[in-house]
Amino acid sequence: MSAYRLSNGGLIDRSKPIDFKFDGKPLQGFAGDTLASALLANDKLLVGRSFKYHRPRGLLTAGAAEPNALVTLGQDGRTETNTRATMVELHHGLEARSQNRWPSLDHDIGAINGMLSPFLGAGFYYKTFMWPAAFWEKLYEPIIRKAAGLGRASYVPDPDTYEKSWAHCDLLIIGAGPTGLAAALTAARSKARVILVDEGSMLGGSLLCETTEINDQPAAEFAAQAIVELSAAENVQILKRTTVVGAYDDNVFGALERVQKHVSVIDDNKPVERFWRISAKQAILATGAEERPLVFGGNDRPGMMMAGAMRTYLNRFAVAPGKQVAIFSNGPSGWQTARDLEANGVDVVAIVTPETASNKSYQGKARIIANAVIAGTSGEKRLKGLTIRHIGSGSEETLACDALGMSGGWSPIVHLACHRGDKPKWSDAHAAFLPPAPRDGLIAAGGAAGTYSLAACLQDGGTLAAEALDNLGHSVSRAEFSTQQDEKAEMPAPFWYVKAPKGKAFVDFQNDVHLKDLGLAVREGYDHVELAKRYTTNGMATDQGKLSNVNAIGILAEATGTSPDVVGTTTFRPFYTPVSFGALTGSHIGAHFHPTRVSPLFKWAEKHGARFVETGLWHRSSWFPKEGESDWRESVDREAKTVRSHAGICDVSTLGKIEIFGSDAAEFINRVYCNGFLKLPVGKARYGLMLREDGFIYDDGTTSRLGENHFFMTTTTAFAAGVLTHLECCSQVLWPDLDVRLVSVSDQWAQMAIAGPNARKILAEIVDEDISDAAFPFLAAREVGLSGGQIKGRLFRISFSGELAFELAVPAGYGEAVADAILSLGEDHGITPYGTEALNVLRIEKGHVTHAEINGTVTPGDLGFGRMVSAKKPDFIGRVMLQREGLQATDRLRLVGIRPLDPAESFVSGSHILDVDAAPTGANDLGHVTSSCFSPHLGHTIGLAMVKHGPELIGEEIVIWNGLKQQSIRGVLCEPVFVDPKGEKLHA
């Protein structure tokens, strides 16, 4: 028994006991505790195992940098691994489990790695496990992988919700310690919009942990009152439990708010976490400083912690870390800790310091051992004693203790100032890396800028806030505070490590990187700080080296005979602390991963029993099963046959539709298609082929001339957005002098294809105008009245199916009514609704191409459209580059039809084409099938294929090869039109 709860003091509420469990064992803490402080109060010193050697570990910090006390919380979908016990607010029912140990935290087999450690030095795996070659994957790697990682995550989907939000402010203050509070109190006096963010559950930062006074109030009380004042200010928004995790261009910050991570019962109406994107005109970094551990033999035993953390446990959480506490400190923090311990009646057995003189303002009872270091420690699962070495004499003595507070100085928390690529600068005077020069409205203040005294921090925060606001035109005077004089906070020379340590001297506690590993890295040539990091993994654990990086730099500097300045830091990267996928995903999850586009004929199709398929963002009706039909093929065959024999109606609303106006509209369209459009008469539609500037086909569709200066273009569903953007580029960037205006009307119109020999008869019953072949010939395009002028629609005589066909567009809201009307009018004419599957069959039977063929690598010539390409037009997109030799080469893949030799056999798209008897090799590859289907009209499978010299090989027998399914059948190349090659039905 060593750590215990003090009977009074602290910011916990002793009237609110809270039950929780650790590794299944019921324990109790108080409201205001963290999981860490509650564990410590219960004398749970052993809280985790390290990554590599499975060393027993205890709490090292009281904050975000904690490398040891990582636990798993929750069950199933709420399983949360690697959670820092120091950041978890204690709440009822909390269950935490330790990690990376088996079978238990107390008895962990993995600890054997510690004994093998001479063989497991940095990078040992790069040097071995290579023989026999097959053993790596079968034997060695599985073992290594098993040992990898810390926590065990769950595959079960998360039941909770997340969201994202934007926030905008004039001044963002990151951190609500004295510096941040002073900044906020100053800014609150202005009219500027201020956001104050702190990752803690209580605002105040170090004020909550220290025994100083501000304005004659105890620091914590001052903080509480400041919050009351700030909460009342209308221009200040306070985000607590919110960590700013990344700083991005333009002063945009990512911040993670833990909305419901501290509650026992989750409110379903609220997210558990919210990810903020904060856009700030100015930002003040008031994130404070991190205390550095000391590197000495056995510096990782449970019971040892940072001196500042000890003060936090004492002062904020009312927990004594032990009964006989020793201090090992370079600089003032240790002395203050000793004072606070003694003030709480805790015995301080010794203060060990490498400094030569003792701290004069310390008046306590502890034995002061100056000019000395700790060479080694004893105890396994808890600290038992120290070996103290006197620097002058080299003599050693041992000392019993059950806790040790250490401090190697402070490192400003500069991460966010470095995320945009700036490097921190080493300062000998501060013995620390200071933030880079301020940029783009981000400036560090207080502890984060290496400002040591409380008074100076308060002043710095206020001054910088006033300056930042001044830059924005909000003048305000700085808030003033009175403080006690703190002790002269000078930094002694840095003390990087104890030479000749007894036992491992850890630098990176989580990844178990110790002094010797860094030495080995230097000896082997991995001496650049970035190489040393990668070779030893120092700083790469979940704490990202918050405690270890600067020490590693100091050690590398000594090993290479340079200074930390020369060694420099590794790159600071988002995230400051890790962020869940859930938070970064927000509400864009499940069905809302991408929005769903709903066709105006969706409900109509649904009503008629359609099955749907995702096509881009749309759900498209793909077939309409009828009772008694056993599989989709049966329905599709029926639909396709019915269209050819009678009539069908199909939703084509998803096509892109672009309205084009302007006196140069015709010229414009003539330039964006490779075929001619200037002479398209009003009232007519034409198929257009659109190339990219590099000569390959981009998209196709029909464009109708509705008036002299008014066109209506359709695009494929997939490229609707892209084509509009492309056209806008052409009109705004390439030819701004042309008078053209473009706008998407895709959503204004419900569009349906009515196809089949009876199509005209059916439509004639609803269309007011004469649509006889004479009055409305193939490719006619006109506005029409419907049902006695009730509404106006647009009718186009175009056909994808090869049948006598029309496309009718009506204002979207009328789509369902019109489609229903057509269905019932068509009943006597045998009409059927048909979906995209039948549509596909019908178009393959006619050899019509889609993006299965137009895949960005084909030219008009490849598809047999060579003659469409205008030879006369002086200019159109793609004209020149299409002439390149490679695009005109005769051995390009070109479109042909394909069918099985034996009609009973079938093949699939993606099969390749080989010569008969040719071995299946790349050299013999002639091409591949792009589209295939069962043709109910012909009674066998048909396809389209891209084949080298394809059109010249028509009539030849080939092999259709699908090695993925070990299939290989004989086929014949044929014309790509399987039905009505003369197009008679079309013109009927």
Binding site: V252, R277, E728, V733, P736, P874, D875, Q883
Partner: protein, 87 residues
């Protein structure tokens, strides 16, 4: 810069409202220009370290094509103009 673009028509907007097209310093050659010139236009890029002009389309805004002058190292945006207005 890369997080926010000040559209001359819409004001400050986040990157995801835009579609980026690439180099805006090249000019479409005359239709009579030879293949070499067209090849350079379609393919060859300065790709500068430093100031770079780039086409950004305000897809989820005014749908105008903009020319963004940006530093490719610092990501600072120097200028945003309407592409049509520049032509």
């Amino acid at each position: 810069m890369a997080s926010l673009i000040t559209c001359p028509h819409c004001g400050v907007r986040p990157k995801e409202e835009f579609t980026i097209r690439g180099d805006a310093s090249v000019t479409r050659p005359s239709p009579e220009a030879d293949g070499e010139v067209w090849h350079a236009y379609v393919h060859l890029r300065d790709n500068p370290r430093g100031l770079h002009k780039e086409y950004w389309h305000h897809t989820s805004g005014c749908r105008r094509w903009l020319v963004v002058t940006r530093d490719t190292v610092s990501h600072d945006v120097i200028d945003v103009s309407d592409a049509g207005a520049l032509a």
